[in-house]
Symmetry: C3
Subunit: 158 residues, 3 copies
């Protein structure tokens, strides 16, 4: 009889997958419609296209724990914004505007997402409390990235 | 003699550990006491319980390099807040309040922590310079997560 | 014939490399010069020295996808700041100042960097629109860290 084969090589070290979701998108102009997702249609980074600038939603493909952060320009009125997950407001940011005093407001959150969960920003309440401002020298942005994947195959190379 | 057996298959790729510390907590109401940690008792994500809402402190279990970020609502007075590590103020955030102009202030920091190190936010100085505001449509939050573990076994599955 | 060998052992767990770039730096005093990088010369964390406080620039050694965030104190005038990559303004933050109402402004961005790419903050436009404030109880900071390395060997141990 021949000898037994050698044991297989150890697996590859775990690697962060370049396909892992990560996105920063910004506004190209004012957004003021209440009760619909804010559409950030200026991509700073959106290679994997997990953010859909038509719907204004980040859509989870790989379940896991994500970090989101947003930075908003407050002008020319007060702003009330909420970060939503699947139609439910999860986090709230409010900032008041006074004449000649444009402001910046921001928020961050860690969330566990299941596949197909949607995360987005939305002005809530009356439309008059909801303008997010941006122009070509003043950004308002929404960013997110995967911190830890529940599914190794999705965030690790095989 | 027969042929040698085939080599075994490569092992499974390594995986990031879901137990790695990560937390976002918020305020449920105003916090104004000076010189004690601010107790964020509204958990957005605190599965591993590394943040203790009784003491108001994030406690390091796995040594490594961490990222922390906080977003605070400034109302109805000026706010002076510091991020502390083990009783020492490390980073300072100050924002002034003016009538009818509620503001948002924020900070971020990368820190190397040893096991049992404690990180928390605290109003410093006189109490009259220290209210952090929150209500049910206006959050003030504190988040943190492990960037790189010093101890592979603690942040990776075996 | 010999039997096939056993499958190999699972690979080593994936590990984040402690050398992976990560930095938080702050200002020690006011910075107001326009059109030169802001020099953050108060290191909160800069072990790998990827941020050079002489040039004021973060220099990419390991190509990959990075997260940057900054938090700026707005006082005593309006501030216009941009995050630059290699001489090109990528993201803009503007905040107006009013008497007795010191403010905070912030921004975040995810960027893919190639080796030798430089990232930094700079006041743009006229110098009178550009002071970033800091003193010993009020920080202005710039942070960045590697999210995903293009080159596994640089962010993972073998
Ligand atoms: Ca302002
Ligand atoms: Ca305001
Ligand atoms: Ca203010």
């Amino acid at each position: 009889d021949g000898r037994d084969g050698e044991n297989g090589k150890p697996g590859e070290p775990g690697q962060r997958e370049s396909r892992a979701p990560k996105v920063t998108v910004g506004l190209t102009s004012r957004a003021s419609a209440a009760n619909v997702p804010i559409r950030f249609n200026k991509p700073f980074y959106n290679e994997q296209r997990h953010y859909d600038d038509t719907s204004g939603k980040f859509r989870c493909v790989y379940p896991g724990v994500y970090f989101f952060t947003y930075h908003l320009t407050i002008y020319p009125k007060d702003t009330r914004v909420s970060l939503y997950r699947n139609g439910k407001a999860v986090m709230f940011t409010y900032d008041q505007f006074q004449e000649n005093n444009l402001d910046q407001a921001s928020g961050s959150i860690i969330l566990r997402l299941e596949a197909r969960d949607e995360v987005y920003l939305q002005v809530y309440g009356e439309e008059e409390h909801g303008e997010i401002y941006a122009d070509n020298t003043n950004d308002s942005t929404f960013s997110g990235f995967l911190l830890y994947s529940d599914d190794p195959a999705s965030s690790q190379r095989s």
